[in-house]
C-alpha cells in the first residue's frame, strides 16, 4: 500500500481515490479494513453502534419504539459482552462477604430440572464456583438423594460446547442486534394479535414462566403455545379416560406391601424417581433378623431396574401388555373384557396376592400401556382400596397440559400452510426429537422468522435464524415445581459464564416490559404468593430450597367406567415389535454432550457411549447375530469381546419406509420377538462429545405410536461395529459375589450369606495384628435396598474429579470410575423368564491386608492408621502391579493424560479438595478421604470427637436408597458397626484373607411361593 518512509509503523497513508471524503485532513488513521473502505456494513455499524436505532429517532413514528427498545438495550448492556465489558473486580475483598471462608464451601438450595420438573438440590460452591450437586434433604423429590442426571448438571454448566453467544447464520451477534431484528416481527404480530406467532416450550412447571406465557397469550390472543417433550409421560390420556379429567398420579411405595409394575420403570426415570427409590427401598430395609418386606412383581419388556429388583419378573411383548392388564383386572373380579389367557399361571397367584393385600398394594402402569390400560389400572387400584393409601391423585403439576404429539402435528400443519410467521422454540430440540412422521424440521423452514433459545447450538438451532444462548439453571433465577407440586425457587450459583439469559428474560423481551431482569420477574411473581412478610418468606424459601406448603393437595376422583373396559382392538401380531425408550443416561438426547452421562454404563446392558438394538438370545440366534459361548456351549456374553471392544453385528430395523441401523445387543431377560431401541443418540449437532454417538431412533418413531410399534422388519447387515461395554461377562461363575436368599431362608438361617463364604481366622499370620485404636472407617452396601441406579457412580465422578476417557478407551477396558455397579445374570440366557439380574456397587474395599500395598515398589499406596488404603499420587510411578494384584480390580490407571488440563471452565468445575491426577499414575476410591479430613479438622478445632453420621462419602450421600452406609466401625453405636454385626453382613473374596472394610448386606427377597418357578431362577 504505502512505502512512505516518513510514516510511523502502523500508520499508513491511504489514497483510495474517491472512497474517502476529501475534506478529512491530517493523518489517515483507520481501525479496520471496513472503515478504510467505508463499506456499507461499516457505515451501518457506525450508524447503529451509538446511539442504537438512531434512525428511528428521526422518524416521528418510530420514536416511541426507539425509546422502548432503547430501554431494553440498556437493560442488556450490562450483560452483553460484545459491546461493553462488565466491570471485573480483580482485587481481593476489602470487606470480606459474610460467611465466605476461603477453602470452605457454601451450600445453596436450588433445583435441577428433569423433564421440566424440579429435583431439589443443594449446590456446593467453592468461592463462587458451583462444584458439586447434592440432593436436598428437605425436598420431597430428593430427601437427600439424587440421581446421575442431576449430578451431571454440573458438567453441563461448565461444558465448553454450550452456546456462548447470540448467533445468526453462524455469525456472532449481540443481544441488541437480536432485539433490533425482533422489533419489526413483534410489531407485525402485535398488529395481528399474534396470529402468526408460535412458541414451543418443553414441559413447563415454572409458575413464573407459566404466568408470563399466559400474559403473553392474553396480549396476543391469536398466538399459540405448544409444549413438546419427546419423552413426556403417557399417563395423562389414561387418567382423562378414567376420571374425565387430567390428574397427576402419585405412588406411595412406602405404604405398599405388594407392588406390581406394568412396564413402569419407576426406579429409573421420571420426576419422582429418586423419591420412588427411597420409598421402595424403605420397605426393603431389614433391622436385625426379622423383616417385613414388600414384594415387587414386574411385567416388563425391556429389562430395567424394576425387573432387576423384582421378586417375580415376567418378560412380555408390548402387544401382550393390554391383554395382561385386562386379564389381571378380570382375575380381580372387575368387569373388564379382553383379557388374555396367556400367562394365566402368573396372573392367578398375582391377583390372589393383590386381593390379600387390599389397601396395601399398588399397581403401576408405564408408558407402553394404552390409555385404556391406564384407566383399567386406575380402576384396579380403586377397587383394591389403594386410593388414598398407596396411590393418590392431584391436579396436574405441569402448566397447561396438552397432548404433545397432537399439538406438534397441528403446528407442523400450520407451518406447512405458511400460517406461522414467527417461531420461538424455548429449550426444546424438535428438529431432532420430533417423530419421523411429523416433518417438523422441514416444515419449520417455511417460517420466515425462527428463533431457538437453548443451552446448546443444536440440531434445531441449525435451522433457525437466531440461536440465543440460554442461561443454565445454575446461572439464572427461576422457579419450578416438583412431582407433587412443591415449588422451589431456582437460584443462580454463578453469574452466567456466557451471555445466556433465562427463559423469563426472553419472554420479557416479547412482552410489553422487555427490560425486566429474571430476578425481578421471579420475585414479582412470588411477591403476591408469599404473603405479608415477603422478604422473610422469600429468604426462607431460598434457604430451604422449597416454598413450604405448596405441594398440591390430594384430589378425590372416582373412576368412571366407560367403553375402555370392553375388549381392545387386537394389534397386528406380525413382525417384530419395537419398543422406544428414553435412554437411561442421556435421556431424550439432552445429555448427549455430557461426558459423564455418555460414559455411565447403562444399568443393565453396561454399554456406554451409544444405544443398541436390544434383543433376546433367541431372536439374535434367529438372525444369526454373533454371541460368545464358553467351551460348554453356554452363551456367556453378547457380541464377540475383543481387546479393543466388543464386536457386534449391525442390524437394520425397518418400520415401513423408516429405517435405522444399529449394533445388535443381546440382553438376557429381553422377551423374544421384540427389540428395544433407546432415543437420544445419533445426534449430529450435540457438541464435540456427543456428535456421532449411536444411531437416531427418532428416525424410526412415529407420532401415532411413540412408545412401541409392531410390524418391524429386522435383518442382519453384513457390517459389524465395535461397542464399548464395561462388563461383557454375564455369569457370576458360581462365585458367591452377590449373595441372596428368600425371606424364608433368611428367617430360618439369618446367617445364610456368611455361610456361603469363608473367613480365614485372623491368627493365620506371624505378625501381630494392627490394633486400629482410633477410628476404623468402614462401609456397607445393602444389596437388598440398592436398586442399581448409578447415582453413586456419577456422584463419585463429580466429587473426585474422575476423568472421562471416551468410547475407544472404555472399549479397551480403561474406564476410570472409582465405583462401578457390577451386574450379573442368573438363569438360562435362552429363556428370558428364567433370568434374574443382580447389581452390586463395587468401590475400593480398603482391605486391612491389602494385596496392592505389598507389591508397590515405591510405597505409593500405604495403609493409614484408620484403616484406609491411601494412594499417594505424587509417589506413584505407574508399574500397575497394584492393579494386577487387586482381586477386586477397583484400581484405575491413567494410561494417557485423561484429565483435561487446558479447558478453563473445567478448571472451575473441579473439586479443589481432590488432586487432579496426571498421566501414568494409579488412582482409586479413597472413601472420600477429603471429606474425612475436613470433618476431622473441624472436630479437632472444636475440641470434640467426630460425630456419627457427620462424614458422608459422595456415593452414600447421593444414594437415593440409602443403601451405602459409612462410618467408624470401632464406634459400637455407629450405624456401620451395627450393620457389620448384622447376620446378613459378608465380604467378597474374604477367603483371600484381604479383610475388606467394605462389606455387603445380603439381599433377601420375598417371593410368592405360589408363583411359577421359572420366573425365580
Amino acid at each position: 500500500m504505502s512505502a512512505d518512509s516518513k510514516l510511523a509503523p502502523g500508520e499508513m497513508r491511504v489514497e483510495f481515490g474517491g472512497v474517502r471524503p476529501r475534506h478529512e485532513r491530517g493523518r489517515a488513521l483507520w481501525r479496520s479494513l471496513d472503515q478504510l473502505e467505508q463499506s456499507p456494513e461499516f457505515l451501518e455499524f457506525l450508524h447503529r453502534e451509538f446511539p442504537q436505532n438512531a434512525s428511528e429517532f428521526t422518524d416521528p413514528e418510530g420514536r416511541r419504539e426507539f425509546l422502548r427498545v432503547m430501554s431494553a438495550s440498556l437493560a442488556l448492556a450490562g450483560l452483553v459482552a460484545c459491546t461493553k465489558q462488565p466491570a471485573e473486580l480483580i482485587v481481593p475483598y476489602v470487606r470480606q462477604p459474610e460467611q465466605i471462608v476461603p477453602g470452605r464451601p457454601l451450600f445453596f438450595a436450588s433445583a435441577v430440572l428433569d423433564g421440566g420438573y424440579a429435583k431439589g438440590v443443594l449446590v456446593e460452591s467453592h468461592e463462587g464456583r458451583p462444584t458439586k450437586i447434592e440432593g436436598n434433604p428437605e425436598h420431597p423429590a430428593s430427601l437427600g438423594g439424587s440421581d446421575a442426571v442431576t449430578q451431571a448438571a454440573i458438567l453441563e454448566l461448565y461444558d465448553p460446547d454450550r452456546a456462548q453467544t447470540v448467533r445468526s447464520f453462524g455469525e456472532i451477534h449481540s443481544w441488541a442486534e437480536f432485539v433490533a431484528a425482533l422489533q419489526p416481527v413483534l410489531e407485525k404480530q402485535r398488529a395481528r394479535k399474534g396470529a402468526g406467532l408460535r412458541i414451543v416450550t418443553e414441559v413447563v412447571t415454572s409458575p413464573t414462566l407459566r404466568k408470563q406465557l399466559e400474559e403473553l397469550l392474553l396480549e396476543l390472543p391469536e398466538a399459540k403455545w405448544v409444549q413438546w417433550d419427546a419423552t413426556a409421560r403417557n399417563a395423562r390420556a389414561g387418567a382423562t379416560l378414567a376420571f374425565g379429567e387430567a390428574v397427576e398420579t402419585r405412588w406411595h411405595l412406602d405404604a405398599a406391601d405388594v407392588v406390581v409394575s406394568l412396564d413402569a420403570d419407576f426406579l429409573a426415570a421420571g420426576p419422582a424417581s429418586v423419591r420412588q427409590i427411597r420409598d421402595f427401598a424403605s420397605r426393603r430395609k431389614i433391622d436385625g433378623e426379622h423383616a417385613k418386606l414388600n414384594r415387587l412383581y414386574a411385567i416388563e419388556t425391556t429389562p430395567g431396574l424394576a425387573g432387576v429388583n423384582a421378586e417375580h419378573r415376567l418378560p412380555v411383548r408390548p402387544s401382550e401388555l393390554d391383554g395382561l392388564v385386562r386379564a389381571l383386572a378380570a382375575a380381580l373380579g372387575l368387569p373388564v373384557a379382553g383379557g388374555t389367557s396367556a400367562h394365566a399361571a402368573w396372573i392367578g397367584p398375582l391377583a390372589k396376592d393383590l386381593q390379600a393385600h387390599r389397601g396395601a398394594s399398588l399397581v403401576m402402569a408405564g408408558d407402553s400401556l394404552s390409555p385404556a390400560a391406564h384407566a383399567i389400572v386406575h380402576l384396579i387400584n380403586e377397587r383394591l382400596g389403594n386410593v388414598g393409601r398407596t396411590v393418590s391423585y392431584s391436579a396436574p403439576v405441569a402448566a397447561a397440559p396438552i397432548d404433545a404429539v397432537a399439538a406438534l402435528t397441528e403446528l407442523v400443519a400450520e407451518m406447512s400452510a405458511r400460517k406461522v410467521e414467527a417461531l420461538f422454540i424455548l429449550g426444546a430440540n424438535p428438529a431432532y426429537t420430533a417423530p419421523a412422521d411429523i416433518a417438523f424440521a422441514d416444515a419449520m423452514m417455511l417460517v420466515p422468522f425462527r428463533v431457538h433459545f437453548s443451552l446448546y447450538d443444536d440440531e434445531t438451532s441449525e435451522r433457525c435464524h437466531w440461536q440465543l444462548p440460554e442461561a443454565h439453571s445454575l446461572e439464572a433465577w427461576s422457579d419450578a415445581l416438583a412431582f407433587d407440586g412443591t415449588a422451589t425457587i431456582v437460584q443462580p450459583l454463578i453469574e452466567p459464564l456466557y451471555v445466556g439469559k433465562s427463559a423469563h428474560e426472553l419472554l420479557a423481551l416479547l412482552s410489553s416490559r422487555p427490560d425486566r431482569k429474571g430476578y425481578d420477574i421471579v420475585r414479582d411473581h412470588w411477591r403476591s404468593r408469599l404473603g405479608a412478610d415477603f422478604e422473610k418468606a422469600w429468604r426462607r424459601a431460598l434457604h430451604d430450597g422449597l416454598v413450604a406448603g405448596t405441594a398440591l393437595p390430594e384430589k378425590a376422583v372416582a373412576v368412571k367406567v366407560g367403553d375402555w373396559t370392553k375388549a381392545a382392538v387386537e394389534p397386528p401380531a406380525s413382525g417384530i415389535e419395537v419398543v422406544f425408550r428414553p435412554d437411561p443416561t442421556v435421556g431424550d438426547g439432552r445429555g448427549g454432550n455430557n461426558g459423564w452421562l455418555q460414559e455411565l454404563p447403562k444399568p443393565v446392558s453396561k454399554l456406554t457411549w451409544e444405544n443398541a438394538v436390544y434383543m433376546s438370545l433367541a431372536t439374535a440366534k434367529q438372525l444369526g447375530v454373533r454371541t460368545s459361548s464358553n467351551y460348554e456351549g453356554r452363551t456367556e456374553s453378547a457380541g464377540e469381546p475383543t481387546p479393543q471392544g466388543t464386536i457386534t453385528d449391525v442390524v437394520q430395523l425397518a418400520l415401513g419406509e423408516r429405517k435405522v441401523s444399529g449394533p445388535a445387543w443381546v440382553l438376557p431377560g429381553h422377551p423374544d420377538g421384540v427389540v428395544t431401541v433407546h432415543l437420544g443418540y445419533g445426534r449430529w449437532r450435540a457438541g464435540r462429545v456427543g456428535n456421532g454417538a449411536g444411531f437416531n431412533a427418532y428416525a424410526l418413531r412415529s407420532g401415532a405410536s411413540p412408545h412401541w410399534e409392531a410390524g418391524a422388519q429386522l435383518v442382519k447387515t453384513a457390517f459389524t461395529t465395535r461397542v464399548a461395554c464395561t462388563q461383557d461377562h454375564w455369569s457370576m461363575e458360581g462365585r458367591h459375589l452377590v449373595r441372596s436368599g428368600s425371606l424364608d431362608e433368611f428367617e430360618h438361617e439369618p446367617r445364610f450369606a456368611q455361610e456361603m463364604g469363608e473367613d480365614p481366622p485372623k491368627a493365620t499370620t506371624l505378625y501381630p495384628p494392627h490394633p486400629y485404636e482410633g477410628h476404623a472407617w468402614a462401609l456397607t452396601v445393602d444389596l437388598n435396598t440398592c436398586v442399581g441406579c448409578n447415582a453413586c457412580v456419577t456422584a463419585c465422578q463429580s466429587e473426585n474429579n474422575v476423568p472421562v476417557v471416551g468410547k475407544d478407551q472404555v472399549a479397551r477396558g480403561r474406564e476410570m470410575h472409582w465405583i462401578r455397579v457390577d451386574r450379573y445374570f442368573e438363569g438360562r440366557p435362552e429363556q428370558p423368564d428364567s433370568i434374574e439380574t443382580w447389581s452390586q456397587p463395587v468401590m475400593c474395599m480398603q482391605c486391612e491386608n491389602a494385596p496392592c500395598e505389598v507389591v508397590c515398589p515405591v510405597t505409593a499406596t500405604v495403609h493409614s492408621d484408620e484403616g484406609l488404603n491411601d494412594m499417594i499420587y505424587n509417589r506413584c510411578v505407574g508399574t500397575r502391579y497394584c492393579s494386577n494384584n487387586c482381586p477386586y480390580k477397583v484400581r484405575r490407571f491413567n494410561f494417557y493424560l485423561y484429565q483435561d488440563w487446558t479447558t478453563p471452565t473445567f478448571k472451575m468445575m473441579r473439586n479443589p479438595d481432590v488432586s487432579v491426577r496426571s498421566r501414568g499414575v494409579m488412582e482409586k476410591c479413597t472413601y472420600c478421604v477429603q471429606r474425612i479430613s475436613k470433618v476431622r479438622i473441624d472436630a479437632k478445632n472444636e475440641g470434640r470427637p467426630i460425630k456419627e453420621g457427620e462424614i458422608q462419602t459422595a456415593c452414600q450421600q447421593a444414594c437415593p436408597a440409602e443403601a451405602i452406609v459409612f462410618g467408624d466401625q470401632n464406634d459400637a453405636t455407629s450405624r456401620v458397626a451395627k450393620l457389620k454385626a448384622s447376620p446378613r453382613n459378608y465380604g467378597i473374596l474374604t477367603d483371600l484373607n484381604t479383610r475388606p472394610r467394605t462389606s455387603y448386606l445380603a439381599a433377601v427377597r420375598n417371593p410368592n411361593p405360589e408363583m411359577p418357578k421359572a420366573s425365580h431362577g
Partner: protein, 470 residues
C-alpha cells in the same frame, strides 16, 4: 603373543579326538592356528559384505525401538495394549523372556566352569556377550513399562534422599531391581575379566595404531606374566563363584513377581525352579540360534563342534522336561487344591480365549523338545537351528500364558477383559531384537567371539605333565 595359558583341568587327548561328535576342537590345531583363526575375524581389514548387510538390517530394526520409545514417552503407556485388568502385557512378557535368555551365559561361564565342563570353552564368550545384551534388552522394559519412567528409573533405587523415603522392600519389583542390576554388573565384570588376555592378544596383533591403542587400553597392561595369570585365575574363579548363585537367584526373583502375587495362575510355589529351568532352556536355545550361523559364516566349525551343539541340545532336553513338569504341576494343583479360582484359571487357559496360545506353548515346550531324545536329530544342525527357534517362541508363549491368561480372568467376572499387543508393543519387541542383534554384530566384529586363550588350552600341545594344579 601371549604365552600359553596354564590349563584349568587335566586333558585326555587320546580319547577326546576320536570321534567327530565327541571332540571339542578339530584335529591339526596348534597355538598359532587357534589364535590366528579367531583373531583374524576381528583384525581383518576388510569387513565382509555379509556383516554389513546383517548389521544394517539389525540396526534398521533397532530404529523401531527408538520410535516406539519416543512415542511412548510423548503420549503415554496407553499406546500399548495394557489395560485393566491386564496391567502387564508385552512389557513384562518380553522382560522375562530376555532375562531368561540371559541365563545361559552365566550358566555356561560360571557353573560349567566350576563343574569343569571343558566343552563350555568355545561358547562361553559369546554366550556371556549374549547374556549382557539380553539383559540390556530386558532392562529396557521395567523402566519404560511404568507410567512415569522419568521418575521410575531412580525412585526404585534405595538412595538417601531428602524425603527420607526408601523403596518398599516388600515389593518383588524392588527385589527385581537388585537381582537384575547385580546380575548385569557381575555378568559384565565376568565377561570383561575373561576378555583381558584376549584383548592383549589383539593389542599385540593389531595392525593399525588406533586399534593398538584401543585394545591396549582395554587390556589394562596385561603382559601375560605368571603373576598376571595367577591373579587372573583367582579373580575369574571368584567371579565364577559370585555368579553361580545369580544363575538361580535372578530368575527365582523374577518368578517372585508372580509367585508372591495373589492372582490365580501366579500364586504357585513351583514358580522359582520352574522359571530357572525355563530360563536355562530358553538361554541354550538362543545360544544355539546364534552359534549355528556364527560357526558357519566365520568357519568356526573347528572350535564349535558337534559335541558342543549336542551338549546344548541335551541341556535343552533336560530343562525342557523340568518345564513340562512345571506345567503339569500347575494343572495338577489347580485340581488338587480345590480352589475354584485356580480351577477356573487352568480350564480357561485350556479352553478360553487364549487356548491357542496355551496349546501352542505345550507343542513348543513339551512336545517339541522330546524330539531331542533322538541322537540323529540331536546331531542335525538344521534341526537344532529349527528347534532353537521353536523353543524361543515357546518360552515367549509361556510368559504370555502366565501373564495374560492369569490376569484376564481373575476373581470378579465383572472385571474380566481381553488383551492384545498393539503395533507399539510389537515395535518395541521387534526393536529390542534389533538392538540385541546390532550389539551381537558389533561384538563379533570388534571382539573375539571365542576365547582364544582358553581354546589354546584345548590344543594337544597344551598338554601339561601330570601335576596337581591349584
Amino acid at each position: 603373543m601371549a604365552s600359553p595359558a596354564p590349563s584349568h583341568t587335566r586333558h585326555e587327548h587320546d580319547e577326546r579326538f576320536q570321534t567327530e561328535s565327541d571332540r571339542l576342537i578339530a584335529p591339526g590345531h596348534d597355538f598359532a592356528s587357534v589364535t590366528d583363526s579367531i583373531s583374524k575375524i576381528v583384525l581383518q581389514r576388510r569387513t565382509p559384505l555379509g556383516w554389513w548387510l546383517g548389521f544394517a538390517a539389525a540396526f534398521g530394526v533397532m530404529q523401531l525401538l527408538l520410535y516406539a520409545i519416543a512415542h511412548l514417552l510423548f503420549v503415554g503407556i496407553g499406546v500399548w495394549g495394557v489395560t485393566i485388568p491386564i496391567g502387564w502385557g508385552f512389557d513384562i512378557i518380553n522382560f522375562v523372556w530376555w532375562i531368561g535368555i540371559g541365563h545361559a551365559g552365566t550358566l555356561i561361564s560360571a557353573i560349567l566352569l566350576l563343574l569343569r565342563q571343558e566343552w563350555r570353552t568355545s561358547i562361553n564368550r559369546f554366550a556371556e556377550a549374549m547374556t549382557l545384551f539380553a539383559v540390556a534388552c530386558a532392562g529396557f522394559y521395567p523402566i519404560f513399562h511404568t507410567g512415569r519412567p522419568w521418575v521410575a528409573f531412580y525412585w526404585l533405587m534405595p538412595y538417601p534422599n531428602t524425603m527420607g523415603l526408601w523403596p518398599n522392600f516388600r515389593s518383588p519389583l524392588i527385589w527385581d531391581v537388585f537381582a537384575v542390576t547385580t546380575y548385569a554388573t557381575v555378568s559384565a565384570m565376568f565377561w570383561f575379566v575373561g576378555l583381558i588376555p584376549d584383548l592383549a592378544t589383539l593389542r599385540d596383533r593389531a595392525q593399525s595404531k588406533p586399534w593398538k591403542i584401543v585394545y591396549g587400553m582395554l587390556a589394562m597392561g596385561w603382559r601375560g606374566s605368571a603373576k598376571h595369570w595367577h591373579n587372573y585365575e583367582t579373580a575369574y574363579l571368584l567371579l565364577a563363584g559370585l555368579a553361580t548363585p545369580l544363575v538361580v537367584s535372578v530368575h527365582t526373583v523374577v518368578s517372585f513377581d508372580f509367585a508372591t502375587g495373589i492372582v490365580p495362575g501366579w500364586h504357585a510355589t513351583i514358580f522359582p525352579p520352574y522359571f530357572v529351568a525355563g530360563a536355562i532352556y530358553a538361554g541354550f536355545a538362543m545360544v544355539l540360534t546364534l552359534s549355528i550361523p556364527l560357526r558357519k559364516f566365520y568357519g568356526l566349525e573347528d572350535f564349535i563342534t558337534m559335541k558342543h551343539l549336542e551338549n546344548m541340545a541335551k541341556v535343552m532336553l533336560a530343562t525342557g522336561l523340568i518345564v513340562a513338569y512345571g506345567y503339569m504341576c500347575e494343572a495338577f494343583f489347580a485340581w488338587y487344591s480345590g480352589n475354584p479360582y485356580e480351577k477356573y484359571m487352568i480350564v480357561n487357559r485350556m479352553t478360553g480365549p487364549y487356548a491357542l496360545s496355551y496349546w501352542a506353548l505345550i507343542l513348543c515346550n513339551v512336545i517339541a523338545p522330546n524330539l531331542l531324545w533322538s541322537k540323529r536329530l540331536r546331531t542335525s544342525v538344521p534341526f537344532l537351528f529349527f528347534i532353537s527357534f521353536v523353543v524361543s517362541i515357546g518360552m515367549w508363549l509361556e510368559r504370555f500364558v502366565i501373564i495374560v491368561t492369569s490376569l484376564h480372568r481373575d476373581f470378579l467376572p465383572s472385571s474380566w477383559g481381553l488383551y492384545a499387543g498393539t503395533q507399539f508393543d510389537w515395535a518395541a519387541f521387534i526393536g529390542t531384537i534389533g538392538m540385541f542383534l546390532t550389539l551381537m554384530f558389533l561384538f563379533v566384529r570388534f571382539l573375539p567371539a571365542i576365547s582364544i586363550f582358553e581354546m589354546r588350552t584345548l590344543v594337544p600341545a597344551a598338554e601339561m605333565p601330570e601335576e596337581e594344579h591349584q
